[in-house]
Amino acid sequence: MPWTTVQVEKLGEFFIRGNSDSGRILSYKDALHEATDQALARDPRVFLLGEGIDDPAGVFGTTKGLQEKYGKDRVFDTPICENSLTGFAAGAAMAGLRPILIHSRMDFLILSLDQLANHACKWNYMFAGKVPIPLVIRTVSARGWGSGAQHSQCVQGMLMSVPGLKIAAPATPYDAKGLLIGSIMDDNPVLFVEHRWLYKTTGDVPEPLYSIPLGKGAIRRPGTDLTIVAVSYMVVEAMKAAEKLAAQNISAEVVDLRSIKPIDEAIILGSLAKTGALLVTDTGNITGGVASEVAAMVSEKGFSLLKHPIARVCCPDCPTPASDILEKAYYPDSDTICARALEMLKQ
């Protein structure tokens, strides 16, 4: 059993009330699997490629059995060459297919920046829209269990400044399915940011195919005293923090961004109009990341709404350590969010 599975198995169940009430409860992992299965069934242009995606574990269960069902042409393992893999997928997209490239660690994405940032994301612009690139790149991040500096990164922040790229970061099973379908349907390169610690999260997921367009956030918990804008796994920690803050009579509103490029500015500013206080939390490093971008946007467009300084709760500017003691010091959680919120509300 892969180490991340061990770690995730230790996590408690976390149910996020989503945007539907079909009564059908799925895990985040199974929602991804279902979306992929349905996309492959519906659209012959869709195919999956990536390192080890056809092994028995099937990318933590998200591609399990799909090669048997759709054949080795549409679901296949690849050589270990992340940069060129991105180019192969982009080239196939230019020729009319809709590839889904999977990196089981987000760290590996950094190897592919040339084909992603220099090529896939610029082609549509450089050639005035003549050759669009409908490409989905799924990346899985994790944390804990001594993963260390090269098996735990969440680098979505550094990619936010790449023009032509869209970035989805679902936190709920409903969004995992809908945003994956939305990403496949999108005519642009989409980075699809997943987090292993969300894989066991459960929620309502309707069976029929549905899509969620990128760029629309969701309010996960209404509140009046403080807005917590959260991304990916930090939505879970934000929800727990909101619960803890409620015990101290602080009403926190949790905004799940769902997509970080484009960012749903209206939902953030709308929430701030109620609360006047902003805390942003992301899974990545603090400098130049999602939280910085949200803070900058709010400073420009919502400065008059703020009654307190903006707070950012992210990983410090430090590579991920392997030691469990250092890991604990490194990763923010609901307690970190609470402490920072209380501190900020006093300022």
């Binding site: 060129s84 982009a90 050759v131």
Partner: protein, 321 residues
């Protein structure tokens, strides 16, 4: 090759040469505000390969791609307009000389990152295999690109998946100003490709007939579904890496080397050959040159009279759809 085909090869090579010479002449007026990379001296490779491709076969090329664009049948007016960064250019003034495209003839765009087009072309070939559409993809790159990881990663993948892709390395011995001998421990690039299990050949890239013959067999093999082929075409870049500079004797390259390759001019040699077999006469040659000159005149007039993009268009096409 029949006489008509021989003449077509000559005409296309001459057209590329004359277009690039005209670009070089006009460049000093600073109206083409874009870096240009001329392939004067290398025309036989683009022509020899592209004449074996169908219009819907894919073509992926580099920053030095005027020759392949024209050889594949790309629109001359739109190319020159792109060099003048006009709205009517093939990339609407967003690309410049290094980013040419004409999807109507299968040319899917060019990359200005060394080795950048190799995975993309390989991916298009993957799509053709998955779709079974019978298309072949030709991917051009220089000897500099074989230094890149994308070259090795792509060749391995294409061999593994038996993709219908023809790799053409235009070995002009220089990556900017670094010779292939400064950069590689061994000289036979085609042997590198062979080591991936790809049939690979080293040919005289200044002999359009030899290039065409090799490309014809390669394209047939790709079309039969037997996998990729690699052609290393030996040639020489007459001009400096960029712009219109002549860098010979300035400490960049020896005059003797330059003179040797000038004596191997692919167009002069081929013209002489056509005369010797009675296919080309002075009168016919002049007629061809006049016709090309007229096309070039029209293309430059079209470009110079075309509107420039307006600032409001800046953000158009960042995203598709």
């Amino acid at each position: 090759m029949d006489h008509q085909s021989l003449l077509e090869c000559y005409k296309t090579m001459l057209k590329i040469r004359m277009v690039e010479q005209r670009i070089a002449e006009e460049y000093k007026y600073d109206e083409m505000k874009t870096p240009i990379h001329l392939s004067i001296g290398q025309e036989a490779i683009a022509v020899g390969v592209c004449r074996n491709l169908k219009p819907d076969d894919y073509l992926f090329v580099t920053h030095r791609s005027h020759a392949q664009y024209l050889a594949k049948g790309g629109d001359l007016n739109k190319m020159i307009a792109e060099l003048y960064l006009r709205k009517t250019g093939c990339s609407s003034g967003r690309g410049g000389s290094m980013h040419l495209i004409d999807t109507t003839v299968g040319m899917m765009g060019s990359s200005a990152i060394v080795g950048g087009d190799i995975p993309l072309g390989t991916g298009a070939a993957l799509a053709s295999k998955l779709k079974g559409d019978g298309r072949v993809t030709a991917v051009f790159f220089g000897d500099g690109a074989v230094d890149e990881g994308t070259f090795h990663e792509s060749l391995n993948f294409a061999a593994l998946k038996k993709l219908p892709v023809l790799y053409i390395c235009e070995n002009n011995y220089y990556a900017i100003n670094s010779t292939v001998f400064q950069r590689h421990a061994r000289e036979d690039i085609f042997r590198w490709a062979e080591s991936y299990g790809i049939p690979s050949f080293q040919i005289d890239g200044n002999d359009v007939l030899k290039v065409s013959e090799a490309a014809e067999k390669a394209v047939e093999r790709c079309r039969r579904g037997e996998g990729p082929v690699f052609l290393e075409c030996l040639t020489y870049r007459w001009k400096g890496h960029i712009g219109t500079v002549d860098d010979v004797g300035n400490g960049y390259r020896p005059k003797e080397e330059y003179d040797y390759w000038l004596s191997k001019c692919p167009i002069h040699w081929f013209g002489e050959y056509l005369r010797s077999i009675g296919v080309l006469t002075d009168e016919l040659d002049q007629g061809i040159r006049d016709e090309i000159a007229k096309q070039i005149e029209e293309a430059f007039a079209f470009a110079k009279n075309s509107p420039k993009p307006s600032p409001e268009e800046l953000m158009d096409h960042v995203y598709a759809g």
